[in-house]
């Protein structure tokens, strides 16, 4: 009986569990003045491909500097540079993959 309860609890937990992107990215960005999609389109404008965008984002998130930012000077002066991520490489990759899937252009144009 205890076993069954444990499984059910674990199952319901896994269903309600949030992804790395939702938990570690969206949670903060949601409340920000600049929405998360704006960052995506800025990266896209500068790095073009999936590989280029993800690589640039990874580098920035791990070690954010003014030189690497895609934001305008005005926004940087106002909000500053974020702190380096505490996510592991795998988690970061997972978050970025989801981020790409949500905002990518491929398959959305009509």
């Amino acid at each position: 009986m205890v076993k069954i309860i444990t499984i059910v609890v674990l199952f319901s937990l896994s269903l309600s569990a949030k992804s790395v992107y939702e938990q570690d990215c969206m949670s903060c960005h949601q409340t920000m003045a600049v929405k998360i999609d704006k960052f995506f389109y800025r990266y896209l404008l500068k790095y073009s491909s999936e590989e280029g965008v993800k690589k640039a984002m990874t580098q920035y998130l791990k070690n954010p500097t003014i030189q690497k930012t895609v934001l305008s000077d005005g926004l940087i002066n106002r909000f500053g540079v974020k702190k380096p991520t505490k996510l592991s490489d795998k988690e970061l990759q997972e978050a970025l993959d989801e981020y790409w899937e949500i905002y990518k252009i491929f398959g959305k144009l009509k």
């Binding site: 404008l45 073009s48 491909s49 491929f106 959305k108």
Partner: protein, 393 residues
């Protein structure tokens, strides 16, 4: 006189000349084709160059629309379309983001190019709106330039080809000159020789005929016969050569000639030759078989075939002559001639057996006369067995 002796180009020489002409024309064609392709490519380049400015303007217009879409993408996902052109966008890894082009694959490494009647113009963006690093524009090629190029190629190509053909003709003449000279030299030599032979041959022949052979003793009779054979050989040769030189001036007196009688008469003429080589002669002739022909010319044909049959026969050999309604055949038991040489037998100066004298003009005369009268000559020969010459009419 010399000029009327047309150069008789032999088959092999004709073949060589034709091969030369074919090779020359082929080379010229390849060169012209190469030049034509170069011209086509250059004209295409000129056309693309002239289109580039216009296409660049269209591309810039499209980029402005992409920029607008990039900014409003969160609410608008409609790719900008223009009836003047189709377009496609690619990211920096050359992955297609979106396309309205007819072509499935576009070569992004080119600046502009033409394919399947469409002109493609490729530009790299400075800012990658919607992630697009490359933009390709596709427009229809009206093909006016192509029509003009084909027209130019047809006109100028045919003019140049004609000129080259003319040049080839002169080249061929230059090439032929040494051969013509050699043949002319040989012809002139024979003509001169013939001329010099005329008087002595006539003197010998008429004097021999005047000798009363029966009044001589046997030994002398034999000697005179030998002289007679020799004289007749020379006389034959002289007549052949004269015929070759004067054939165009000889007026034909065509009449119904009894073939059987004529052959018998000519055999009589050669009787001394037959006797000296101990050749057995058989004739099987149907009576009153006639051919409408010049007597002298027909005699020349028979003489030449008979003299060959005697000349190339073995001592103690046989000659069978048969005259039927439309064929005269003369068969010998001589050394025969190889199959590959039969075709060339009728060429002037063709000789295949150096051990027997001659100029190689006898059968050439036979060929001339039989052609003139539409007679058909057939030669069947087996080396070592004999030769059969049949003339049919």
């Amino acid at each position: 006189m010399l000029k009327s002796w047309d150069i008789n180009l032999r088959e092999s020489e004709k073949k060589t000349l034709l091969s030369f002409l074919a090779l020359y024309l082929f080379l010229m064609f390849v060169i012209l084709l190469f030049v034509g392709v170069l011209y086509y490519v250059s004209q295409k380049e000129v056309m693309l160059q002239s289109k580039r400015m216009e296409l660049s303007d269209l591309t810039n217009e499209h980029i402005a629309k992409l920029k607008e879409l990039h900014v409003t993408f969160y609410k608008n996902k409609n790719y900008p379309r223009d009836e003047r052109f189709n377009s496609a966008i690619y990211d920096s890894s050359l992955k297609q983001i979106f396309s309205t082009t007819k072509a499935k694959k576009i070569n992004l490494y080119e600046d502009s190019y033409l394919e399947d009647g469409k002109i493609y113009f490729i530009k790299e963006l400075e800012s990658y709106y919607l992630g697009a690093r490359y933009i390709a524009i596709e427009v229809d090629d009206a093909g006016i330039w192509k029509k003009k190029v084909y027209q130019d190629l047809a006109i100028y190509g045919s003019i140049v080809f004609m000129l080259l053909l003319l040049f080839g003709y002169f080249l061929l003449n230059i090439l032929l000159q040494p051969m013509r000279n050699a043949l002319a030299l040989l012809d002139r030599f024979i003509k001169d020789t013939t001329h010099e032979l005329s008087t002595p041959v006539n003197a010998i022949m008429s004097n021999i005929e005047m000798i009363d052979i029966d009044s001589l003793d046997e030994k002398l009779q034999k000697k005179i016969k030998r002289i007679n054979i020799g004289a007749r050989t020379v006389a034959n040769l002289y007549q052949d050569l004269t015929y070759l030189m004067l054939s165009h001036k000889i007026v034909s007196h065509d009449e119904d000639v009894d073939v059987g009688l004529l052959v018998k008469e000519r055999v009589e003429y050669f009787s001394l030759f037959l006797e000296s080589k101990k050749i057995e002669f058989n004739i099987k002739a149907q009576e009153h078989i006639t051919v409408h022909i010049d007597r002298k010319k027909f005699a020349k044909v028979v003489d030449n075939i008979l003299s060959n049959a005697i000349k190339y026969n073995s001592v103690g050999g046989k000659i069978d002559v048969e005259v039927s309604s439309n064929v005269l055949s003369i068969e010998d038991t001589g050394r025969g001639i190889e199959q590959k040489n039969i075709k060339r037998m009728f060429e002037r100066y063709s000789r295949f057996d150096p051990s027997v004298g001659g100029f190689g003009i006898g059968l050439s005369i036979v060929s001339m006369i039989t052609k003139e009268y539409g007679l058909h000559v057939e030669i069947k020969s087996t080396v070592g067995v004999g030769t059969k010459v049949s003339i049919s009419w």
